[in-house]
């Protein structure tokens, strides 16, 4: 039986090494690139997502070069949100925000996507409960019951969500999207459910600067937990208290 009937590039396309019961899933993707994938517990595709896991993403901006948009194109290819040349209505699940400090002239580019908040405002305001947080902390839209009221877009402080403004055809089988519903980054939930990393993280690790560390924040031995414990990291609009799962280093 295959756990992989949909999705694109597998994380594990060379060799999988298992280091003991609590160890890491270490994957050799390309010479010199080692991906530490899941810290403690992903879940097999037939078991429900577990609340023991809290998926999180740490982005080290010092390793995120200006002008690189590998994460954005990887997400677009994976999830199929091609642009139609109408920037005002075209969806964007992930974007690079260019920052310039007016006083020091310091320049940074920050990949921004759904921050998968622990206390998501979009979930609170959704009248039908279509916006929801999965047990493992991933914030999703259940497009089957989304009525397209866009209140979540009003409530999201990160401008992470897009509304599908026109009929679509030929969506990716693993990423259903449709007119009249709201959508956003899913942390590539279809990939996670078959133990593969989100497309952006993979692209960044393989071809980019390796700025993204993805893993389980509830597992103290995971790469992301260790990095968060070791370095100063920050969350965007932490003042709102939504506790985003996406953290930034060197912001």
């Amino acid at each position: 039986m295959s756990a992989e009937s949909y999705g694109s590039h597998p994380v594990v396309d060379r060799r999988v090494l298992l280091r003991g019961a609590g160890g890491f899933l270490v994957t050799l993707l390309a010479p010199g690139v080692t991906l530490y994938a899941f810290g403690a517990a992903g879940h097999a595709s037939e078991a429900p997502a577990s609340s023991k896991v809290r998926w999180a993403l740490l982005i080290d901006l010092s390793k995120c070069p200006a002008g690189c948009d590998l994460c954005v194109t990887a997400c677009r290819d994976e999830n199929g949100w091609q642009q139609n040349g109408r920037p005002e209505t075209d969806p964007q699940w992930i974007r690079k925000v260019k920052l310039r400090d007016g006083r020091t002239g310091e320049y940074r580019e920050v990949p921004v996507m759904c921050q998968h908040c622990d206390k998501p405002a979009c979930v609170d305001v959704c009248p039908t409960g279509a916006s929801f947080k999965r047990a493992d902390g991933i914030v999703l839209v259940d497009k089957h019951i989304c009525i397209g009221c866009r209140f979540c877009m009003m409530a999201c402080p990160y401008k992470a969500r897009s509304f599908v403004h026109q009929p679509l055809t030929d969506q990716k089988p693993w990423a259903p999207r449709g007119k009249g519903t709201v959508e956003a980054c899913t942390f590539c939930v279809h990939r996670l459910d078959s133990a593969r990393l989100p497309a952006c993280v993979e692209a960044c690790a393989v071809k980019g600067g390796g700025a993204m560390t993805f893993g389980d924040l509830n597992d103290p031995t995971s790469e992301v937990s260790k990095a968060v414990a070791k370095y100063a990291t920050s969350q965007v609009r932490a003042d709102l208290g939504l506790e985003p799962a996406v953290r930034y280093r060197n912001l």
Partner: protein, 403 residues
């Protein structure tokens, strides 16, 4: 005490049919616009990923506010026991229901998936103020319906207790409803223009104003059509006073709202945008809401001292108040979204997704027509109700009794 008489809309001038025809046309166009938007997606509207709520929401909110405000004449008569308002209690109830239905229709037809209305009615997230509003709105129709029954049914209207209870329930319900509508915006901590508890009282004050303005217009039109002067000299004078007080309260809450935002350092940007640099929003605020929708009609009402002047300045002021209302809600809803979200305070930001940029919005014709059709639906429903049941007071008898 004279027994009040009510009648159905039976005798009217041919101009009524012109009005009805006009509303039917607008309603048909609005329905067509909704189908068009449903077929092609919201791409045919001016709304986009920056301005997610547009003109339909402006009209929907205006109508929903006006709905709860229109009930006021009934509330004043039975909750506060002012006999002068008694003749208008029934009419105020039915106009309230009609306005609410009109507003809700616009809101529903603008949904991305309007065909899933049944989902909205069956799946609830009780943490959402929107979900609560679905209850508050449908409950309002039921409560006001029961209130009307307690006033109009031969036996039910004998019971003072029932009448008073229903009056109080309806009055409390409408206050909660408008609070709920205000909190749709008040709870939005993410957006600088909103995120303020004062949105609730501001919306309540606004609802008093728009509701009464609609009532005045309905009374004026019906007086003309039936050839029966519905607004007596006494009540016209009271309306003049009430409209002025309501308009001043809206002005007061607006000033406090903006002052508070202005005072807290972080929000000065959005205030300067709305009040000084916002182009169409600034114009809508100062020209639309303040001058055209507040000062001008207030001046008109203040100057109207003799009853003849009151008679023409009252409807004119009401129209101005409603235009000001559209401007006010336009600035709140669309201006509030046009100002960019601040993800990284203190930084100069830019992106392919309009970060750090004032969002642009050009309302499209389908949106405008859809919004206007809400008003038409409300007016048609009112006319239909007046035709079917005795909502209109018989003022002649009363006047001759008094004489």
């Amino acid at each position: 005490m004279t027994k009040l008489k009510f009648h159905r809309l039976e005798q009217h001038r041919p101009t009524l049919w012109v009005l009805v025809g006009l509303h039917v046309v607008v309603l048909a166009l609005g329905f067509g616009a909704a189908l068009y938007m449903e077929e092609h997606g919201h791409i045919v509207s001016g709304m986009n990923n920056q301005i997610v709520w547009g003109l339909p929401h402006v009209f929907a909110v205006l109508l929903i506010l006006a709905a709860s405000g229109a009930l006021n004449l009934a509330s004043i008569s039975s909750v506060f026991n002012r006999l002068a308002y008694k003749p208008y209690a029934r009419l105020s109830g039915i106009v309230a229901i009609a306005l609410l239905v009109g507003g809700l229709a616009v809101l529903v037809l603008d949904l991305g998936r309007p065909e899933r209305l049944v989902v909205a009615m069956t799946t609830y997230n009780f943490k959402s103020i929107f979900a609560w509003n679905i209850y508050l709105y449908s409950g309002f129709v039921l409560v006001v319906g029961a209130y009307l029954f307690s006033m109009m049914d031969r036996r039910a209207s004998q019971s003072v207790v029932l009448g008073n209870t229903m009056a109080w329930v309806a009055f409390s319900w409408r206050l909660i409803l408008t609070t709920g509508t205000g909190l749709i915006f008040g709870f939005l901590a993410a957006r600088e223009a909103y995120d303020a508890a004062i949105m609730a009282p501001l919306f309540i004050a606004a609802s008093f104003l728009y509701g009464l303005a609609f009532m005045v217009l309905v009374l004026v039109v019906m007086s003309r059509e039936t050839g029966n002067e519905l607004a007596t000299e006494e009540i016209a004078g009271k309306f003049r006073g009430l409209l002025s007080i309501f308009a001043l309260s809206v002005l007061y809450f607006t000033i406090v709202h903006h002052l508070t935002k202005f005072y807290t350092g972080g929000h000065q940007g959005v205030e300067l945008f709305l009040l000084r640099d916002g182009g169409v929003y600034t114009l809508a605020f100062w020209g639309g809401q303040i001058v055209c929708g507040t000062l001008l009609p207030l001046g008109l009402l203040a100057r109207a001292r003799d009853s003849a002047t009151v008679r023409w300045s009252l409807p004119l002021a009401s129209v101005l108040f409603l235009i000001g209302g559209v401007a006010q809600i336009y600035v709140i809803i669309i201006g509030g979204q046009a100002y960019p979200l601040k993800l990284f305070p203190g930084m100069e930001v830019s992106s392919s997704f309009f970060d750090g940029v004032i969002a642009s919005y050009q309302p499209s014709l389908p949106e405008l027509v859809l919004g206007l059709s809400g008003i038409s639906l409300a007016m048609l429903l009112t006319t239909l109700a007046l035709r079917l049941m005795p909502f209109l007071p018989e003022m002649r008898t009363k006047r001759s009794d008094a004489a």
